[in-house]
Every structure is written in structure tokens, then in C-alpha cells.
Point group: C2
Chain length 324, copies 2
């Protein structure tokens, strides 16, 4: 078994957190991940407060043991964030992951309710501020991840965040197999957060077309759009993302027109299955996924490989100088 501070912090069999993917990470997927020994996460920003309550209830009803932890991911830029911030307190959600900024206005309330708070940080500056606010851990998310992305990659962000804060660091971005988990740990992380690799999970309710597109992706098939608007997003290349990219370099197109073009695009792909005219958000590691599996198989395979990689790490060490 791989055991780190992250197992102990949340009470997990494996130090892995599922990514909070808007319109995708629901109660069923979260329960499957928590039942498998990871930390399942429900996205708070899908359809509004009632839907969030329902997903939390669904997750609880599917957990094989009521003491298993799960989390809600609140994307702070969302207009639904404030309502979600109250619901997690009211429904006694044990862990909250936050994205896109710092959860400063909510921290006092959450800490008073004994909620463990884990902000996602794209830089050492945000990670340090999160630690000062009372976060129990921080996700260092590299720009190879899917959806909303930062600039720094997992390889450079993880060790720098590990040096910058004394709370546990969870590496995210580009991790889809045991080699990635092992590498993240040696870079200074105490766990991983994975989103893309749960898209093909049997328990993931994303549209079958979206799953197929993920499983067919090649290494060079993702693109980042939205930089002009200040909100870069990584998705698979398709008619939608190519046109978005063209519009960004076209001065005749206004920012408002681009925003309107992008609006509803994730929902179109994730729920309606329109993977040409919708946004198929995914990380660069989509290309490393080859089959549909249960959440339990995904996690168990990943950690068995990671354990093998760590056990064999001394194969690179030799007592003799290769060349005197």
C-alpha cells in the first residue's frame, strides 16, 4: 500500500482525490471513487442549489459505509458558489475543494463547521495564501490538466509548492497511471488529484460520445482556448475548439461574441453528446486512457503500478562509478 499524510488526513485507502468536473462529477461518480478508497468529489456548479443537495444525498446513499469521506468542489467564480458554500455546511459535507481563486469569504464558516478545506493552486503565491487561510492541504494543479488551466506544469509546480507550504501538497495535471503517481510523490506531493482518468469510469455519467472521444484521443489532441478572455480552458480539438481558437485571433470578433460562442459548450458535449460543437474538456493525459473500467479498477491499477515503480526505484542506483 502507498500511505502518505493524505491517507491519514482524509481517512483514505489510497491518497487520490477525484477531480471536480462541472456537469460530470455527480454523486454517483463521487460515491464510486469513495467506495474504491479515494476521495470522491461532487461538482457544485451544475444546475443550482437543489441539484447540489440531491447529488450529496445520492452520494451518501451509495456509500458502502457512512463514515467514508467525500467532497464537494466549489468553483469560486461561479454565481452558484455562495449558495453552495452554505449547503456544504448545512449538509455536513466533510471536505470542500475550491477552484479559481481563494475561498477567503467562506473560510471562517467552514472551519467553524469542521470542514476540511483544500484549495486548488496554480502558483506558489496562491498556495501560500491558502495555507495562511487555514487550508488542510493544497492541490498544485499543472496546466496539462483539463478544463480551466494555469500556466505552470505539474513538473515545476509540485516541488515549488512543496517548498512553499508546510501542509500536504496534492499534485494534479497529467497523472493517468502509476508512473505519474510515483513521479508526483518524488516531486514532493503526498497525493494526487485526477480528473480526466475518471471520465471513462463505468460509474461516470458523461455522455457515451464524450467517453469515446476521450478513449480515442492521441497525445497531440488537446488545445487551450480562452487565453484572450483571461480564462484558458483545455479541451479536445474539434470543430468547436478550432473555431474558438480562430475567433480569439480575429480582432473583428468581440470578447462578448467569444463568450457567447463558448456559453453552454461543456453541457452540450457532456450531457447532449455533441462532441463536435460542444467543449470536450480533458487533460493532456486523455491519450493515456485506453478502456472503460470501474472507478475501483482505475484506482487499484494506478496504485499497483505506482507501488511497483517506487519499489523498483533503487534499480537506477549503482555502487560503482560507470566511468572513472
Amino acid at each position: 500500500m502507498i500511505v502518505t499524510e493524505v491517507n491519514r488526513l482524509f481517512g483514505l485507502k489510497y491518497p487520490i482525490i477525484q477531480g471536480g468536473m462541472a456537469w460530470i462529477s455527480d454523486g454517483k461518480l463521487a460515491a464510486a471513487v469513495s467506495n474504491a478508497g479515494g476521495l470522491g468529489v461532487i461538482s457544485a456548479i451544475n444546475e443550482g442549489p437543489e441539484a447540489l443537495r440531491r447529488e450529496i444525498e445520492t452520494c451518501r446513499s451509495l456509500l458502502r459505509d457512512g463514515r467514508l469521506p467525500f467532497a464537494v468542489n466549489i468553483m469560486l467564480m461561479s454565481p452558484l458558489a455562495a449558495a453552495a458554500a452554505d449547503i456544504v455546511v448545512e449538509m455536513k459535507v466533510p471536505v470542500v475543494i475550491t477552484g479559481a481563486g481563494l475561498p477567503t469569504p467562506y473560510m471562517k464558516k467552514w472551519l467553524a463547521a469542521s470542514i476540511q478545506v483544500v484549495p486548488v493552486a496554480p502558483s506558489t503565491g496562491v498556495a501560500k495564501m491558502a495555507a495562511r487561510l487555514g487550508a488542510c492541504a493544497v492541490v498544485a494543479e499543472g496546466g496539462e490538466s483539463g478544463g480551466h488551466v494555469g500556466d505552470l506544469t505539474t513538473m515545476v509546480l509540485t516541488p515549488q509548492v512543496a517548498d512553499a507550504v508546510s501542509i500536504p501538497v496534492i499534485a494534479a495535471g497529467g497523472i493517468a497511471d502509476g508512473r505519474g503517481v510515483a513521479a508526483a510523490l518524488l516531486l514532493g506531493a503526498a497525493g494526487v488529484q485526477c480528473g480526466t482518468c475518471f471520465l471513462p469510469a463505468k460509474e461516470c455519467g458523461v455522455h457515451a460520445n464524450y467517453k469515446r472521444k476521450i478513449l480515442e484521443a492521441k497525445d497531440i489532441d488537446t488545445i487551450v482556448t480562452g487565453k484572450r478572455l483571461g480564462h484558458p480552458v483545455r479541451s479536445l480539438k474539434n470543430a468547436f475548439s478550432r473555431q474558438f481558437a480562430d475567433m480569439e485571433y480575429d480582432a473583428a470578433v468581440s470578447d462578448r461574441q467569444i463568450e457567447a460562442f463558448g456559453s453552454g459548450a461543456l453541457r452540450r458535449a457532456a450531457l447532449d453528446g455533441d462532441v463536435q460543437n460542444g467543449s470536450v474538456m480533458a487533460g493532456q493525459c486523455a491519450a493515456m486512457l485506453h478502456e472503460e473500467k470501474t472507478a475501483e479498477q482505475i484506482i487499484a491499477d494506478m496504485f499497483r503500478e505506482a507501488q511497483d515503480a517506487l519499489s523498483a526505484a533503487d534499480r537506477f542506483l549503482s555502487k560503482e562509478e560507470p566511468h572513472a
Copy 2:
């Protein structure tokens, strides 16, 4: 000691290759890296054929043992590439690293001269073609690196290239300390290529202003420009790179005007020390560099840390399930 196929392939004490940085990687730096037990690399595209001959002679004259290997890096898009391709044969350079494409037209000549050829690949497709051409190894270079960059990051590119080819893979991009080296090895690499971390080397002839700017860089201080032209380049943020970025989104500015604006910018920073109006090319890991050291100290420190990280990799392993 860390010993892999890369030590054996080139006859190295450490499995590390210095990056070929235009206007910066000269015979003196290459000799310092080779004398320290790595593979020193001379950039072929600085001032033309005579300068390249001179740098190769300088490198040879500074090597403490004439049998030590060194390499020349040929950026294939450069108008100087064809001349450099002949010079490496004529001067019996043992290893050639190529960048920006595939060295197809030169392979027969180089292999006939027993030159070891190592192409840099930004994707699995290029890596596979390089292996088919007879390359002895391939550099998988992540987009967090400095200078000309690809899209895929080291975290996702390294394992995919390792799966795609049977020749040794050398990971590049974002590696500046022993944690990065250890992570690269567990991701499937047999060695590393580092450019940015040699910029503050005592033996590196880059202008003192450039070195200072590297040592002062924070994690979020790099930017990628040139995507509109199809040749993205990573450098530190300054007046030059900010203006370049603005011009890219300005439809009133032609591609030709942008090209003209960028022309000579690296030379201006690296040789003249104008780090505001020149291009201070560097990778994201610049923020991890804190002091000037000799090439030997840089390499020895990095590999001592990597050895410690690999030796301690089993600290994450436990025989007991953390939660039954």
C-alpha cells in the same frame, strides 16, 4: 551513483545532457559539462560555420580527457543547419542532437560517420519517426522548457514516448533539481536534458544581466509568445515579451511586423545584456535556481538529491492497509 542506459550509451558519469541554447551553449560551457560527467552540447546556430568550428576546437582543448564525449545541437530550421551537418562529420563530433523537425536528409551521412544522433521530440509521432531513422536515443521535451516549445508537458510526454519507442528516452523540460531527475526516471526516462539550470553556471558565458534575471525569476515569470507565427517560444516576462504578446492579438499588426520585432532579440539579451528589450529565453524552472555554481556543482548536487529521493522512495510503501 545513478546509472542508466544513457550513461552507457554516451560514456557518462551522470545521465544528463546539457541543452543546446542558441547564442549561449558554446565550447567552454560544453567542456565544463562534459568534464563534470555530463554530455556538454555546443549550439550550431550562433554565428555561422567558422564560429562552430572554433567552438568545437575550444571544447576539445578544454576537455580534461580527449576521450570524453560532447555534442553539437543543430536546430534544423536554421539556415546554418546544412553547413553544420557537414562540419560535425568533418570534425568527428561524437554526438549530434537535433531540434525542430527530423534530421532525415542527414541521417545516412551521420550514421556512416558513426555519429550518435539524438533528435528532440515534442510528441510520440516525432519520437517514433526518429527511432525509425536510426536515432540512438530521443529527447522528450515538455513545453515547460525554455526557448522553442511544444505543447505537451514533461509529465505526460515522457511516459508516452517511453511506451512508443524502444530506444532510451531523455526527459527535458522543468527539471532543475534532484526531485525532477528522480521523477523523470520513474516516468520512464533513462536520463535528463537540462538547459535553463546551466544558465547560472560559472562557465556559462551569457551576459551577467541575463544570469541575474534568471536567478531573480519567480514561478509565474515566464510567458509563451509566437503561437500566432507557429513557433512558440518561452522567455521571461519583460518589456519585450509583453509587447510581443500584445502584437500577437493585434490584427492591425502583420505577421511580418511581428517577425521583424522578434529578430535578433535573443542575441540582444544574451550577448548585449539588454534584458528589457531582448528575449530572455528560459524554462519555467528558472524560479528554482537560486545561485551561481560551477557546472560540476550543478550536476553533482542534482544527482546527489536524485539519489537520495530514489533511495527513499520506499518510504511511501506500507504493508498495512491504512483503513480496512
